[in-house]
Amino acid sequence: MARITLSGVSYSYGKKTPYEIKALDGVNIEIADGKITGIIGHTGSGKSTLVGAIGGLIEPDEGQVLIDGADVWKNRKKIREHRFRVGLVMQYPEYQLFEETIRRDIAFGPRNMGLSDEEIEERVVEAARFVELPEALLEKSPFELSGGEKRRAAIAGVIAMRPDVLVLDEPAAGLDPRGRAAIFRNIAEYRRATGKTVIIVSHSMEDVATYCDELVVMSGAKVIMHDTPNKVFSNPEFLVKNGLDLPQIARLNMYLREKGIDLGEGIYTVEGAFNKIMELSSKK
C-alpha cells in the first residue's frame, strides 16, 4: 500500500516569462489509502498539475511529494520507480498508443520495468480483463479500434504496471454515456478487486458523486475542500461560488425541498434518490 502526502507543494508554468501562471499554490493534502478520491474543480484550477505532481511527472518548485513518508524527488535517479508505483493515465490517453498491436502497447510499461516475458504476458491479460477488452482485440492495431476501445487499451497500459496508486485524469472525457459508465464501472471493479488507491480527476459531478469515497475540491491553484462527497455536496453555495456545479440529483433534492418534499441530507446519486423516493412513497 502507499500513502501519498503533499506538503506545501507549489508549481508554476512558464517560469520567468511574461506568461507565468501559478498552477499549484502551497497544496497540502493526504490521499486516503485504499479509497477512490475524486479531484474536482473548474478548468484551470490546477487539477491536472496536481495529479502530475502526485505521479512524479512534475517536480514541484516548492514543497514535497511524499510516498510512505519518503520524498519522491530526493533521489532523482529513482523517480522512475515512483512512476511505476503511481500509475498516471493522462487526459485522452488513446493518443499515446504507438505499438503495432494493442498487446505490445499494453506491454510497454511492464517491459520498461524489466519484467520477464511470462510475467508481462500475465499482466497484459489481467489488465485487459480489468478494462473489459476482449482478447481478440489484443492482436489488432490501435488504428482498428473505436475511440472507447482505444481509451480502455491505454488505461490497461497503466494498470499492467500494477501500480499501488492508479491516477486517472478525466478518464471518461469525450466518451458517450455508455462509454463513461463502462469506464467508471471498470475502475470501481478494479479498486474492489485489488483494494488499491485510486485518484480520479473529473469535471462530472455525477460521476464523482457516484464513485468516489472522498473529494478534493480545487480552485485557483489551491485545495479549498477535502471531505466526503456527502459533506462537499451539502454545501451548494460554496461549490457554486467556486465555479462548480452540483450533481443533478443534489439540485433535484434542493428543488423538492423547496416544494415541501424532504428527501433528507446526503442524497446525490440516482440510486440514493430512487431508494429514498420509493421509501417515502410507500409510507403514504
Binding site: M90, Y95, F98, G109, N112, G157, V158
Partner: protein, 275 residues
C-alpha cells in the same frame, strides 16, 4: 520543452507594439538600410541613438534586447579580429608592429564601428519585428506588402496562409510532444539516459503518436476550412482590416528623416570614417 518559444513576442503596451505591422516591416527594412549607410563616427552615433530611442519607445526590458545579441557574439568577435588585423592605414597610425602582425589605428576604429553596426542591426530588427510583432501578424503584413507579386500570378495569399498555419501549428505540436513524452514517461520511458542509439530508440513511442496526431489535426483543419467554404484568396476579405494611421506615417517619416540625417552626416568630413 516550455523554453521553446516561437519568435520572442514580448507582450507590452507601447507605441511600437501599436504600430501598423506593414509599416513596422518597412521601418525595419529602412533601419537595416540605415545601418549600412553609416560611414563616419557622427552617423554611427546617430544610428546608435535611433536604436536606443526605439528600445525606449518599445518599453522592452533592456536585458531582453541585450540577450538577442548573444547568438551573434561569435560573428561579431570574428569580424572584429579580421578588421583589427587586416585593415591597413596610414603608416603614421601604426599602433602595434610585431612579428607578422601590424595593427593600425584604422583597424581598431573599423572594428568598433562594425560592432556598433551589428548590434544596431539586431536591435533594430528585433525591436521592430520579433519582440513587438506576433508571427501571425507578420505573415499577414507580408501578404499585404507582397501584393505586386499577385499581379504576376504568384499565389501570395496561399503562401501566407500556409505560413500562418505552419506557425500556428508549431506551439500546438510542441505542446503535443510535451504531453506524449509525459504520458510515456508515466509508463517508464526514459529519454535522458543510455547510449545515443538507445535514446533515439526511446523517441519512437513519442514520434509515432506525434505524426499520427499531426496528420489528424491537418485533416480536421482542412475539413473545418472547407466547411466554412474556404477557397483561397480570390475575393476574400479580412476580419481585421488594418488602417494606416497618422502615427504610422510619423514613424515612417521619422525613420526616413534619420536616414537622410545619416546621409548628410556622412558627407561631413568630421571624425573617422570607414573606408
Amino acid at each position: 520543452m516550455n523554453s521553446i518559444s516561437l519568435g520572442q513576442y514580448y507582450p507590452a503596451e507601447s507605441p511600437i507594439h501599436r504600430l501598423d505591422v506593414r509599416i513596422k516591416v518597412v521601418v525595419a527594412i529602412l533601419f537595416v538600410v540605415c545601418t549600412f549607410l553609416c560611414k563616419n563616427v557622427l552617423s554611427f552615433a546617430l544610428l546608435l541613438s535611433l536604436a536606443l530611442l526605439s528600445i525606449i519607445l518599445s518599453r522592452l526590458p533592456i536585458g531582453l534586447v541585450a540577450r538577442g545579441v548573444r547568438p551573434i557574439l561569435i560573428i561579431i568577435a570574428i569580424t572584429s579580429l579580421i578588421n583589427i588585423f587586416f585593415s591597413t592605414g596610414a603608416p603614421e597610425n601604426i599602433v602595434v608592429d610585431w612579428w607578422i602582425f601590424t595593427i593600425y589605428r584604422e583597424g581598431i576604429y573599423n572594428a568598433l564601428l562594425m560592432i556598433v553596426r551589428f548590434v544596431c542591426l539586431i536591435v533594430g530588427t528585433s525591436v521592430f519585428l520579433t519582440y513587438t510583432t506576433t508571427p501571425i501578424e507578420l505573415t499577414d503584413a507580408i501578404e499585404d506588402l507582397l501584393w505586386p507579386l499577385k499581379k504576376l500570378g504568384v499565389p501570395v495569399h496561399d503562401f501566407a496562409m500556409m505560413m500562418t498555419i505552419a506557425l500556428r501549428f508549431i506551439p500546438l505540436l510542441v505542446d503535443e510532444t510535451d504531453k506524449i513524452m509525459t504520458a510515456q514517461k508515466a509508463r517508464g520511458a526514459d529519454f535522458s539516459s543510455g547510449s545515443l542509439a538507445q535514446r533515439a530508440k526511446a523517441l519512437v513511442p513519442v514520434l509515432i503518436p506525434l505524426f499520427v496526431s499531426a496528420f489528424r489535426r491537418a485533416e480536421e483543419l482542412a475539413v473545418a476550412m472547407e466547411c466554412r467554404c474556404y477557397h483561397g484568396g480570390e475575393g476574400r476579405t479580412r476580419m481585421n482590416v488594418r488602417h494606416v494611421h497618422a502615427k504610422d506615417f510619423v514613424a515612417l517619416f521619422g525613420v526616413i528623416l534619420f536616414g537622410v540625417g545619416i546621409v548628410v552626416l556622412n558627407t561631413l568630413n568630421i571624425g573617422y570614417s570607414i573606408s
